[in-house]
């Protein structure tokens, strides 16, 4: 066999090894781009030049506008607490939040119960339900006593964690 063939094979082998490495790295991009880490809303700085009441009014208007688009939420986003930024898709059968490792959103929070709260779906929309937790679940500042409808943008507080429904 000629010297040329062997040289070609030799460099071809090195090239193929690196092509393999990069194709594996290409498959791994999912690890970086496949996960949605959503920025916390509260970290967006208040716009200068607007007074507090103006800002609040603007936020209210935004909220109303969001509600007007009556599409349903698809994601649960943690907006405050140790897991801030985590996002996970809501599932129709129910998403359990708590400290139990079997829960969908596993909280590392001393103030949360094992199975703390559940968000599930009925014909109209999403329903949040407290699963008899010790410290309670708060929807927009009010403690949940019965399963209650949650809309996009309303905040659910569990221990030190605040979660929000997003589209």
């Amino acid at each position: 066999m000629s010297e040329l063939t062997i040289t070609l094979m030799r460099f071809g082998l090195l090239a193929l090894l690196w092509v393999f490495v990069f194709s594996v790295a290409g498959v791994l991009r999912g690890d970086i781009y496949g996960i949605r880490v959503v920025r916390r809303r509260s970290t967006v700085p208040a716009q200068p030049g607007l007074s507090r009441s103006e800002q609040r009014a603007r936020e209210k208007a935004e909220k109303a506008a969001r509600k007007a688009q009556s599409r349903l939420a698809t994601h649960l986003v943690v907006t405050d607490g140790p897991l801030a930024g985590t996002s996970l898709p809501l599932r129709d059968a129910g998403t359990i939040i708590g400290r139990n490792p079997e829960a969908s959103l596993v909280l590392d929070d001393d103030y949360a119960s094992g199975r703390h709260a559940r968000i599930h779906r009925d014909e109209v929309g999403w329903i949040a339900e407290d699963l008899g937790s010790t410290n309670g679940t708060y929807l927009d500042g009010e403690r949940l006593t019965t399963p209650t409808r949650v809309d996009v943008g309303s905040q659910l507080r569990i221990g030190r964690t605040v979660v929000e429904l997003r589209r």
Partner: protein, 460 residues
């Protein structure tokens, strides 16, 4: 613990198959390259030999489709490629030494590959949930310590090249430390997941470092004594470093306290220094490491020097497979296989191989991140860290970063026990990753759940 949700779950079995064929293709090219360079002709039984590797890999792939369909798609192709490249290099050294089929090391390595894959598949099929392993915490722990100390037992222990890390049963020799790596990782994971709360209780703060309480130092001292014992009586720094390193890393993972790493490193330095002062064989290793090319060191062993000269002659692109002289170094197919690759594939080639290990370890750690139970997290992270540390010890040894020790490079080096242990390790990682990537089962509607009070449950 955190919940990180991928946007959509892909099983990835198709990607795995493509990468697997790609890996076998690379191995085939390398094999043809060796044969053409050495014998000037393609091997007559090319298809048979490549067919074996392909068959073994495809069998693994099919079992994954059947029993762990959400398992990580990258681990299997990486392991197959490394194993195949190792086979090619061992075959190339067979040719250089003129070994025929009967004494061929490559054939034995191929048989061991098949045996190891079968064992790994049995593990995958039998073990449906890795959490079952937790039930046998102390069995694994005791088994691991016995395996580690087995080479010291009179009668079956064998000292090869000054290191007493082998056991011989009739014609078979075995390195039990390789298997102990896995059983001890299981034991450490199961032990630490139950005791981590106690171990992470802070004691005094010294120089900005929160030290643990004195009474919590027990476990680390026990493992330290064991690893110093291995260093002294089996005269094997590599195994000693590997076990102590795995324990300290998992302790850190479980407790999130940097002070454990500091304590561990200090303890290891003290142990290693005392061993250096007291034992001649440790001093020889250090002499070979620091003054490799001095006359005294060359008189003791010129193995390391030859390995380094080989890598130097390889340069950037290597001499090409079959054109170098890696066979001059003793143990070029096991301890020094990295030097052999350095000589024939060059810096570019060995960096590709190191990247394969990096990707392998990355997949293991990613599995640990994705798993939602604490035991699985610790086990996956511990196993992948053990692969990383073993690569560091071996590659660091042949490139004179640390003293040379007799460990094998996972998948690449010649050695049945190493292959068996590492394929089993792959099976365990795949099993955990299957659980990590599988979408959660529906919790279902539990009508009574809203009326239940949260209870304090005591597990122990």
């Amino acid at each position: 613990m955190t919940a990180v949700a991928p946007a959509r779950v892909r099983k990835g079995r198709g990607i795995e198959l493509v990468l697997l064929l790609f890996a076998v293709g690379i191995v085939t090219l390398a094999y043809c390259n060796v044969e053409l360079a050495v014998n000037d002709a393609l091997p007559p039984n090319l298809l048979v030999q490549v067919g074996w590797l392909l068959g073994v890999a495809l069998a693994f792939h099919l079992v994954l489709r059947w029993r762990a369909s959400y398992a990580d798609p990258i681990l299997l192709p990486l392991a197959t490629l490394l194993n195949g490249l190792g086979l090619v290099m061992i075959h190339r050294l067979d040719l250089a030494h003129g070994r025929d089929l009967g004494s061929s090391l490559a054939l034995r390595q191929l048989i061991w590959t098949a045996v190891s894959v079968v064992v790994a598949l049995v593990v995958l099929v039998v073990l449906r949930d890795h959490r079952v392993l937790r039930r046998y915490t102390w069995t694994f722990g005791l088994g691991g310590f016995v395996l580690l100390l087995l080479p010291l037992a009179p009668g079956i222990g064998r000292a090869v090249n000054g290191s007493r890390i082998w056991i011989g049963l009739g014609p078979f020799t075995f390195q039990p430390g390789e298997i102990a790596k896995i059983t001890l990782a299981i034991f450490f994971a199961a032990y630490l997941v139950t005791t981590r709360d106690a171990l992470s209780v802070a004691g005094r703060k010294v120089l900005g470092l929160t030290l643990p309480r004195g009474r919590d130092l027990g476990p680390i001292v026990v493992v330290w004594l064991l690893s110093v014992g291995v260093l002294v009586f089996e005269s094997d720094l590599g195994t000693s470093l590997l076990f102590f390193g795995i324990f300290v890393a998992m302790l850190y993972l479980a407790t999130e306290r940097i002070s454990w790493i500091v304590i561990g490193l200090l303890l290891f330095c003290v142990g290693a220094y005392v061993a250096y002062l007291m034992f001649g064989h440790v001093q020889t290793r250090v002499l070979l490491w620091l003054h490799t090319f001095s006359p005294e060191a060359l008189k003791a062993s010129d193995q390391l020097a030859k390995g380094i000269m080989g890598m130097a002659s390889g340069g950037m692109f290597g001499t090409g497979l079959g054109n170098g002289r890696p066979d001059i170094t003793y143990f070029a197919e096991s301890d020094f296989i990295f030097s052999s690759f350095g000589e024939e594939l060059g810096l570019i080639g060995v960096f590709a191989i190191l990247m394969l290990y990096v990707l392998f370890v990355e997949r293991g750690l990613r599995t640990a991140l994705g798993t939602r139970d604490g035991f699985g997290k610790l086990l996956a992270a511990g196993l992948s860290f053990s692969v990383a540390l073993q690569c560091f010890v071996v590659v660091g040894g042949v490139t004179r970063v640390i003293p040379l020790t007799g460990l094998t490079l996972p998948f690449l080096s010649y050695g049945g026990s190493s292959l068996l242990a590492n394929w089993t390790l792959v099976a365990l990682l795949l099993r955990i990753s299957d659980q990590a990537r599988r979408p959660e089962p529906d919790p279902g509607v539990r009508p009574s759940s809203s009326s239940e009070e949260t209870q304090v449950v005591k597990l122990r």
